[in-house]
């Protein structure tokens, strides 16, 4: 057990609260820079797509949010699992912090996709595989959030929703795979595919920048929400008053 002391120290509320605070600027500042550059490059500088015209520019929001919707659920599931198995409050706090962010990005992906679908396919919605699986992912987030909110007691909410998140985590790939088997008309992978990306650099580089930017933004929001969740869970919150005054946490 002694080898894990650093781990438990990190997991203690004062330390993790301070750590999240310290990490925040390291996420937030590059996030804004990358997003500024990436979105400018994508929305203004990049050339029009020869098929889709300006409509394609929505990809700079759409694709990163699709990625973050999945990343969010993975973080959610893994940290919920850690919290459940090792009875670690910090992990539960992280899961609780990440869930609404992931849900928002899922929603954003659906909205941008729908807006894109209108010019491309002539309808806001079609029952295509990836669309459907993204919609199901949103339902899974909503189920998780609804279960959390149906408990009064944070500790119980943590543990109950962690079970759901874990079951969900096992199911995400199965759902993805099954829905794909069912039907597909959505655009294939253009970035992550064998043989390298099929996209001119002027389009690709801003896309990569906005991927990185949105991911860092995700991390930055997660830090802020994590701090709030830690305070929420703390029964003796005197230490954070101290650290607010002295600027140093003590445990």
């Amino acid at each position: 057990m002694t080898r894990l002391t650093w781990f438990y120290r990190l997991a203690s509320p004062p330390t993790s609260y301070a750590t999240a605070g310290r990490l925040l600027p390291w996420f937030a500042v590059p996030a804004f820079l990358l997003l500024a550059v990436g979105l400018y490059g994508g929305l203004v500088l990049a050339p029009k797509d020869y098929q889709q015209g300006d409509a394609f520019r929505i990809i700079y929001v759409h694709a990163p949010s699709a990625w973050l919707s999945l990343l969010g659920y993975s973080v959610l599931g893994v940290s919920a699992g850690i919290g459940l198995i090792w009875r670690m409050k910090l992990a539960h706090a992280l899961a609780a912090a990440v869930a609404p962010i992931g849900a928002s990005f899922t929603f954003l992906c659906l909205v941008t996709g729908a807006l894109w679908g209108r010019p491309m396919w002539g309808a806001y919605w079609a029952w295509d595989a990836r669309l459907t699986s993204e919609l199901i992912l949103l339902f899974m987030y909503l189920g998780y959030l609804a279960l959390r909110s149906s408990y009064d007691d944070l500790q119980r909410a943590d543990r109950a929703s962690a079970v759901l998140a874990l079951v969900g985590l096992v199911n995400v790939p199965i759902i993805h795979f099954s829905v794909n088997w069912w039907n597909s008309l959505h655009q294939g992978s253009t970035v992550l595919r064998a043989g390298g990306p099929a996209m001119p650099a002027a389009m690709l580089i801003p896309l990569l920048e906005s991927f990185a930017g949105f991911t860092l933004l995700f991390a930055a929001i997660a830090c802020i929400r994590l701090q709030a969740e830690i305070l929420n869970r703390e029964r003796r919150p005197t230490w954070w008053m101290d650290s607010a005054i002295k600027g140093v946490p003590h445990d």
């Binding site: 009875r87 009064d152 007691d153 029964r235």
Partner: protein, 206 residues
């Protein structure tokens, strides 16, 4: 005196934002009848549920025969018989069916034995479903379940709720006998714990 069967060290328990148990420590040996006393909301039920492994304390430890609670759940189950505020009886089953099932979860058991235990608590020949019993009759059946489990440790939360005077006396006798045979009884009660016994020990919660 034997080594302590149950050891509680510096137990801290929160329920929601309420710090209910604040550093509770005590021991109990085989043969003891430990009575938890305290006003409404002082944490008797909570403590019993911690001892039974149904609630997790935030800090401190509970050891049964030196073993921590989470080391071996099955051993805990073999050791403890629990009677909470709820009876643990299915409303659609008869007393005999209920008692039989609960007992068979733990050990083989013949119908005779069940009948005998039910007779002991005065519920011998009721073959209505439990929902058609009065409140006190249900409590009696639950007590029969505790008897039948033949566990060395009884955790009883206000065992005489709804019982009439003769029922209370009956339960007191059963508890006495269990302790005399080397069992440990931890119970909470607001009244009826003034019975003569050399084994009675009290633990005040506040």
């Amino acid at each position: 005196m034997a080594a302590s069967l149950l050891e509680v060290r510096d137990l801290h328990l929160w329920r929601g934002s309420l710090h209910v148990l604040r550093g509770l420590s005590f021991e109990a040996c085989a043969g003891d009848v430990l009575v938890l006393e305290g006003a409404n909301g002082s944490g008797k039920t909570s403590l019993l549920r911690v001892l039974a492994g149904l609630l997790w304390p935030e800090a401190g430890e509970v050891r049964w025969e030196g073993q921590a609670l989470d080391d071996d759940r099955a051993a805990l189950g073999r050791r403890v018989s629990f009677l909470g505020h709820e009876q643990g009886l299915h409303a659609d089953l008869t007393p005999a069916e209920n008692a039989m099932f609960a007992t068979q979860l733990r050990r083989r058991c013949a119908a005779d034995e069940v009948r005998e235990a039910l007779a002991q608590v005065g519920m011998a020949d009721t073959d209505r479903p439990t929902r058609a019993l009065s409140a006190g009759q249900r409590r009696r059946v639950a007590m029969a379940r505790v008897l039948l489990a033949k566990a060395p440790v009884w955790l009883l939360d206000e065992p005489w709720t709804h019982l009439d005077a003769s029922g209370v006396r009956l339960c007191q006798d059963l508890i006495e006998a269990h302790a005399a045979h080397g069992g440990l009884v931890v119970l909470s009660a607001h009244y009826g714990v003034d019975f003569k016994s050399t084994r009675l020990r009290r633990l005040g919660l506040s």
